[in-house]
Every structure is written in C-alpha cells, then in structure tokens.
C-alpha cells in the first residue's frame, strides 16, 4: 500500500523540475530587485551571454564537461550508498598523473601521449578515491569525513609538489611548464590546423565528447553490467546484498575507485585540454558543484548531463553579467546557484503533495 499515489512520469521528471527552476528564478529576481537591477534584463544578459554566441556555448560546454565528470563521480558513489565529498581532491590529485605522463613522455606522438595521460589521470583519481574507500570498508572510517580530509591533503600535497617539483627553475608563477603535446585537444587549435578556421578563443576542447561518452558508459556500467547491479544492490540494501553473496567491502572499494577515477577526468579537461599545464587549485570548486549536479540530476547520467549544462550556463552567464553590470560581481551568480540548489535539491518535493492532490482530484 503506497502512502501516496504515483504521479505520471512526465510530471515527475518534467513538470516538477521545471516548476522548481521557475521558483528559483523568481526568488533570484527578488534578489536582483533588492539591488535595484531589472531581473528580466539581468537574466536576459546571462542567457544571451551563455547561449547567444559560439563563444558563449564554448564556455558553457567547457564548464559542463567538468561538472559532468564530478557529477558522475558523486552519482557512482551514491549508488553504492556512499557520499563522496572528495571529488575536488580526487580531481586535483589526478592532475599529478596527467602532468607526470604529459610532461615526461612528450617525445612520443600525441595519439600515444594523450591516451596515456588520460589513463594516468583516471588512475591517480581512482587511487585518491580508493584510499578512503579502503578505510571505510576495512576500518569503518566514515567516508564523508575521510574524503573531506583527503581534499585538504590533496590541496597541501599539490601545492608542495607544484612548487618544488613542477615549477621550472627561475619561473615566478607556481605552475608547471606547458604540456605541449596536448594542444591538439583544443577546438581552437583543431579549427586552425585542419580547417583553417578561426574558432573563438575558449578553453573548450575534445574532452567534452569524452564527457558525453563517459556519461553513457556510466549508465551502461550501473544498469547493464553485473558489477553495476552489485553496486546498486549494496547501495540500496546491504543485508540483501550479503544474502546474495555480494561482498559489500569489495564493492565499496570498487565504487570509490571508479568514483575517484571519474573525478580524475577533470584533469584531462583542465591540465591537458584547457590550461595545458598544472596550475594551483585548478579544479576551482568543480568537485563540490558535482554534488549539486548529481543531486539535481537525481544521480542518473541523463539528469547529470542536463544539470551540468545548466550549471555551465550559470557560470558562463554569470561571468558575462559581471562584465555587463558594474556592481554585480560573480558572487551574485553564487547566490543564484544556491537558490537553484535549494529549490531543486533540498525543496525538490515541495510541490509534490499539491500536484498529487491536484492530479487525484482530477481523477475522481
């Protein structure tokens, strides 16, 4: 006997998120009004800045690429019943793998270096996820605590390594030298070399295709493989999983490694694709945005891709807005993001009882 009736699917995945988004924008409008700005004009600037030009789209997709990876990272762990807050650190640590391979094997041709660097990024990210996974499985150390702490460890470690290992002698900026072998990933570079076309300056690179492919791969992994089945079984009901002969400890470690590996792909987008070097704090919060993206995308790859693009839009639109309006800075965008997370995540079901009542009243 269900406590409430089930709403049609289109309401569940279409109407409710849309209503929540509109409500978030309405709340954001109030904030704009409070600082004496016209909300419609501001939202217009944001949307036009993000999707009104090729350049806008390029930035949107570049941001979305990071968010897809970190969103999937959170989702895979979530399906195993784990709350991985360490995407930030895992992505940051993965930069080490990308840089070590990319910088040391640059004598090899790019079709070899780039795949190797990608693999190294994944492995380094996976390792940074596996250690908390191991501690959770074997020692019972809570994954939320350990992954948060591992963010700090990664942060300090990377500062040390970039400064003392990667920074070329005599250079002032705390960053590695350039990974020259990876320029080819950039859209601008491809357009110039192969099509003789001047693509607008943007950090967009081929990793965006990798992101879409990986989103599909994660869906396939979770819902069409035996291991994915076992991960979901452990996440939903550990007793039933044990009954089924699944070893939760093993699954927890595997899921955390996969999760960390997905976050590690951020290094491909940043270190190889966009910046072509290892920078301090290059992840810039994408790991944390991934939590919101996964929450909004309901831990499903399709939802995550859509949510990642929405956040990409907010990032790019927000930047444009802060250019266009003098007394609006990027913090305003953080406010809008916060409202969207609040209404679509935390208050996800705020409308549901009313809609349910409405639907079943109409039925009678």
């Amino acid at each position: 006997m269900s406590q409430r009736g089930d709403l049609p699917t289109w309401v569940d995945v279409g109407l409710i998120p849309l209503l929540n988004l509109l409500l978030a924008l309405a709340a954001a409008s109030v904030v704009f009004l409070l600082i004496n700005e016209n909300p419609i004009e501001c939202l217009g600037i944001m949307i036009k800045g993000a999707v009104g030009s090729l350049k806008g789209w390029s930035y949107l997709l570049y941001y979305a690429t990071n968010f897809i990876f970190t969103g999937l990272c959170v989702a895979v762990a979530f399906h195993a019943g784990l709350f991985n807050i360490g995407g930030e650190g895992q992505a940051y640590f993965a930069g080490l793998g990308a840089a070590i391979v990319g910088l040391n094997l640059e004598f090899l041709p790019w079709p070899i270096v780039i795949p190797l660097s990608i693999i190294a990024s994944v492995l380094f990210g996976a390792f940074w996820g596996l250690v908390p996974g191991y501690l959770q499985a074997k020692r019972g150390s809570h994954i939320v605590i350990t992954t948060i702490m591992f963010n700090f460890i990664a942060s300090s470690l990377m500062v040390y390594l970039i400064n003392y290992w990667f920074r070329p002698i005599g250079k002032m900026a705390v960053e590695s030298r350039e990974v020259t072998g990876a320029y080819i990933l950039s859209f601008r570079e491809i357009a110039r070399q192969f099509f003789d076309y001047k693509y607008p300056a943007s950090p967009l690179n081929l990793t965006v295709f990798l992101a879409f492919f990986v989103a599909w791969a994660v869906w396939y992994f979770l819902w069409r493989t035996k291991l994915g089945y076992e991960i979901r079984a452990v996440g939903l009901n550990q007793d039933a999983a044990v009954y089924a002969g699944i070893k939760p400890q093993r699954i927890i470690m595997i899921a955390m490694a996969v999760s960390g590996g997905l976050a590690g792909l951020v290094a491909v987008n940043e270190v190889l694709g966009a910046q072509h070097r290892l920078l301090l704090e290059y992840v810039q919060g994408a790991g944390f945005v991934g939590i919101a993206v996964a929450l909004m995308g309901r831990n499903h790859p399709i939802g995550i891709v859509l949510a990642a693009m929405l956040f990409g839009l907010l990032y790019q639109g927000g930047t444009e807005l802060s250019f266009a309006k003098q007394h609006i800075n990027r913090d305003m965008v953080v406010v809008i993001q916060g409202l969207i997370i609040l209404f679509m995540g935390a208050l996800e079901n705020a409308f549901r009882p009313y809609l349910t009542a409405l639907f079943f009243k109409a039925d009678d």
Binding site: T225, L236, N237
Partner: protein
Amino acid sequence: MTPAIELIHIDKRFGAVHANKDVSLSIGQGSIHGIIGENGAGKSTLMSILFGFYAADSGEIKVRGKPIKIKSSSDAIAHGIGMVHQHFMLVDPFTVLENVVLGVEGGALIGPALTKARSELKRLAEEYEMDVEPDAIVGELPVGLQQRVEILKALYKGAEVLILDEPTGVLTPDEADHLFRILGTLRDQGKTVILITHKLREIMAITDHVSVMRRGEVVANLETKNTSVGELAEAMVGRSVLLHVEKSKASPGDVVLEVKNVTWRDRKNIARVDDVSFTVRRGEIVGIAGVSGNGQSELLDCIAGITTPSTGDIIFEGKSIGHLGDPRHLRQEGLAHVPEDRQHRGLITAFDASESAILGWQFEDELGKGFRLNRDLVIANCKKEMQDFDVRPSDPLLRSGKFSGGNQQKIILAREMSSNPDLLIVGQPTRGVDIGAIEFIHKRLIALRDQGKAILLVSVELDEIRSLSDRIIVMFAGRIMGERDANATERDIGLLMAGVQKDAA
C-alpha cells in the same frame, strides 16, 4: 447499551488504492472484538484511522455515543483509546516505569510522575494480574513482558478501549495463553478490547464478536460462538480454502545436509546457536520449530554461508562448507535460500521485480555473458518465473516493494526454486502472506520435496511446521530441545518450544 466505539461510513483512499470502502463497525463496551482479514484487507488502516495516524476521507467516529474528531494519537488517547503495536514502541534502555510515564511526564521534573506511576502501576498489576518489576530495564525483559509493559502504558494513560495489532506473532503458545487471560480480565473489568489478527484460532479462542475484512470492506459481522474456523476463512478469502495440506508419506533418500555440533557466538560471546546437530535427507522436509529469537535465524545464516559457525561443521553433499562463508559459492553448489526477512533480505524493494528476481544469481552466464547483464534476458527470466508462480500483477518492471507480501514471497520462491537446488532452506515462508498464497506456497514446497529435493523449513507458525514437515526439530535458547515426527501433538511441541523437556533425564 451504547457501543464503546462506532465507526460510521469510514472511507479512505491512498492514491489509487481504496483501503477502506464505506466501513461501518460497532464495538460493544466490555467485549473482545476480533478483526480478521488477509494482508492488505484494510484492518491496519482502519485501526490507524481510529488511533489518529491517518485521517479518514469521509465518515464519522463515535466514542460512547459521542461523535468526535481524532486528528492525532494524542486525541485518541484523550478519548480513552490505547494501542499496542505489533512492533513495540518502547525505549529499550529505559526502565518499565520510565517507559510508562513517557509522554505524560506532566512537568519539567520527572520525579513526581515516577512516584505517581509507581503506585498506579502497583494497582494495575493487582487489578489485572500483570506483574512487572517497575525498575527492570525494558530491553532486558522477555518479549512477553515487554508486551505487558505496552498494555500497562496504555492503561496508565487511561485507556478504556485497547487495540492490539497482531499481538501473538512474537509469543510462545504459553505466553499467548497468558496474554489471553489478561485480555479476559480486562474485559471482565469493563474494558473493551479490539484484537487485530490473521490467526483464526485466536479469534475462536478469545473473542466475543468478530468482523471479517476483505479488500477494504467489512464482509461479515459475527458472534464468535455462532461461527466456525471454516466459515471465517471462507469469508476472508471469498472462497473455501484448504487449511490442511494434502501430502503423501515422505520417502527420504541420502543425507544432503549434515549439521555437526554447530555453535555460533555473537559479539558478546553468547552462544546463540548452541551445539546443534541434525541431518536433512533427500525427499523430506525437516521443520525447525521455535519461538522467534531462539537461534533459528543464526542457524540459517550459518548454513546459507552468510556467517560462519564459531565451532562445529556443516557438511553439504559430502563437502565441508561451515568455514566458507560464501553464499554465492553455495548457490553454485545447489543450495538455495529463501530468507526469513523478505523485505530486508529477500529482495530489494527499490529494484524492479526483474532485478529482484535475479538477486543472488546475478553472476550466472544465462543472464548475460561475462561482465554484462542482458536486460532482455533478465526480464524474460522474470516473466517466466512470474507465470510459473502466478505472481500478480505479472509485471517485471513494477517495483518489488509495490507487490503484496504474498506476491513478493512468490517472486523469491520462484527465484530460488527455479535454480533446481538440491537443498532449499526456507525461513518463514508464509509470514505476513495471505491465505490464498499460503496454500499455493505450501503446495509448491511439497511438490519440490516429492521431486526428491531436501527442504529445511524454519517457521514460528506451529501449524505450518506441523502440516508441512516430515520431521520436526524444536529449538529453544539456541539448543535443540528434541525431535518429533509429523504426528506430534501441538501441546507436546509447544512445551518443547517453551523449553520444557518432558523426556529429559
């Protein structure tokens, strides 16, 4: 005389489910009124409305002739309605006294309430023959006494009408008898008792009136003395049911399972399974009887490989498996397991039926080569099993949790039986399952036995053990109290279940 409770045209829907359809019921003062019905018949919903957990969509409730509104359980308590839930609402580390005053402390300081409760408790204990040590820690009391605390709690709050939801599920036959004596005393003192149960025997033994519910409606209101078990069962199901299982004599073959001196200790080093030995042969059903919590669950876990025995060994088809602790390996060897707790172990309620229908067997190549899980094959497998076991609705994509208890159990049985096991271990095959499905499940178990398979059955339902088993083993406090054949009397087994060993030296 004005009835104690009148429910008039109560109607309640949960979305598409019509849980109570225009239910009218009148419960006489100073009587024991039974409400029976299958799972999902609407008895619990009706009582939840009376106790203020749900609001009825329409209808009226009268207490002693006066129409009242019950919006929460505190309203119900204020009108003298008390409820003893199936799962006790007690704070284990608190004393009896502290539990009794919970919710009626009456001030910032607990002292005065405790003093008052102590004398009140003493009076109640004398009046209703319900002796409980007020300073005992509730968590340390046996289940029967914990239930008594629940009843005292309701009486202390001034209950004139007491609702008991499936009160005997956790009790030994002896404890149940004692409970019935208490209920009898309560009635004699003028209290009204509403007893919700699906056990026909209890209805016959203790109630004055009985109402039968089916699919949200009250289909019969009867005087207990003018009815029979057969009539009630028919009213519940809507057709006559076979209460006794037809089965031929067993012809046991080779030993399939041998349990040798198995002991299992919990973390506190208490032996929950204590030096247990027995065998199960091909073509027989061995039943393990006992009140729940006497080591049966732990024993099943050891045999199924979910835990490993502390000492002793388990031999399955000539191979020692006691140390393995690997359910998957055992399944491959031909040991199938229907777990006791289907909601928490047998299936994953958030999975769709087709996914639950492969739980434990997900590694098989028939479901997809190598690492892949072929969705089409998974669904086809589920469709076949659903057809075979008459699961309704036969929709492999419906979430497992949406099926009724009986159909969930059928999904699990279909999964385990279709693997063609040499040994099937079954825990509580019909707990919370309606009569129609019980009949079906029992027939399938007998059929499996007749195919020459070995079955180990654990159940707290003595009737079930007695009608299915060829041999009966009784467990008490982790030990085997004795073994009986299928003809043993209920009283004989009941005594063993209570730990009384008649033939002990």
